[in-house]
């Protein structure tokens, strides 16, 4: 119930049928990913359902970067795969005690997580994307993190990746001043 599957070619399938035009009501649906789903599939989805590209101010820029990348072979051996997670963090200090819930999108290598911001888009576009677990961090203890199975909505999946990609970009090279 209320499930959609995101396919490798970027299409969205609900109850075995391809969704033709994305409706806002799908944003709250739980997503499953077809085997072999990659970051390129995610961009293809935004191309097919253009309404989704207006969810984040940086998406048009990310799409421009994506379109400038080669059509295949955009992988590197720095990561095994990319993973989308959710974190619930209890924070005691600094500030008042509070609880924050946020999504994150990382590169994974040998069970370790790595930030994506310094990796170029053409190195990760064809890497497989997996849905990870919910991590529960208690008072900054990043060693003993509890992990739980969880679900992700279509909105979280688009918005979380878009947020992460908006941090993307490092200079390719430096030029010598004149």
């Amino acid at each position: 119930m209320n499930n959609i599957t995101l396919m490798r070619d970027g299409s969205i399938v609900q109850n075995g049928e391809t969704v033709e035009s994305v409706l806002l009501m799908f944003l709250g649906f739980k997503v499953d990913l077809e085997k072999g789903y990659t970051l390129r599939s995610w961009f293809q989805m935004l191309g097919k359902y253009s309404l989704l590209a207006s969810l984040n101010a940086f998406l048009p820029t990310s799409i421009e970067q994506y379109l400038a990348c080669p059509a295949n072979g955009c992988c590197f051996d720095g990561f095994d795969h990319l993973e989308f997670n959710k974190t619930v963090e209890m924070i005691g200090f600094p500030g008042n005690p509070r609880l924050e819930i946020y999504n994150s999108f990382h590169g994974i290598k040998s069970h370790k997580t790595f930030a994506l911001k310094s990796v170029r888009m053409e190195n990760i576009l064809d890497m497989s994307v997996r849905l990870g677990k919910l991590k529960h961090v208690v008072f900054g203890d990043k060693v003993d993190i509890f992990e739980f199975d969880t679900v992700f909505s279509l909105f979280e999946f688009i918005d979380g990746i878009a947020w992460e990609l908006s941090f993307h970009g490092s200079p390719k090279q430096c030029e010598i001043g004149r």
């Binding site: 600094p94 941090f167 004149r178």
Partner: protein, 308 residues
Amino acid sequence: MFEKILFATTASPTCDDAAKVAFNLSLKYESEKLYVFHALGVPTRGFSPFVKDVRTGETEQGDPDYIQWVKEEMKNTYAKLIDTVENCELETTVGVPHTEILRMARKKDVELIVMGAHTRQEDIGATRYRSVAGMTMQKVAKAARCPVLIISRPCTTCFKLFSHIIFGTDFSKASDSAFLFAYKAAKDVGARLYLFHSCDISSLQAGKVPGQAEIEEKIKEARRKMEQKYVSKMGDFDNYEIEIWEGIPYVEILKFAREKQADLIVMAHHTREIDPDEAELGSTVEQVVLRSACPVASVNHPDKVASP
């Protein structure tokens, strides 16, 4: 250009990138002094001998031995970098970090403050809901009398080899100071200076999207202001370009910086004409600092940039 530099550090790996830039600047500009400064904690109450560590919240006894121990730690952390410069001084104190950094900058009459964007290592996802750029950085940038260079990523080029400097303006009074810094830096290192303005036509502004004629009028007006306010002050300096884009300012400036492979973005710390005492770090600067692949200099006061 930078005789005295203050590098404000949390003495943690989050400041490593900023440390490299600070030491490199000091080396290349043969600065008279580089102060490496760390405010280690806040007294638990009044004149209490105990201090609450600003990062962990743990209570420590802030006696001279403890302070000496912290200094030793700093010396070990930056040992390799300290060897590269001649006049480095390690300073540490008990107090609220931003107040102490500003106090130190004033006392030592520094020309530049270098600091990282965050007090602690943050997950990118988490930065969204927190006081985005670190509170300390925010408060220092707001009140500093000198330029504040904020480093949030490894810097691939050393300052002296910068070839593309972007000055983002909203034509505010504070932007005039930022311009002076950008212009001086570009002239000094022989970089191309991009005078950049983004006409804010975001549909987020009360849902109104201006028409094409109105946008074109705004662009024309912005270009006229650029010529009048900045180009007229540059004399025979011709290594500049004027760029006016339309969109959401922080999105556009980041896009432009990426396109030009910018080495430095210079902006005023607040983007509206408001009383500087009441100004918070403008949301534009905040968003730019977070996402920029290059260092961002926040300048809001003419004190250290007005001289030729």
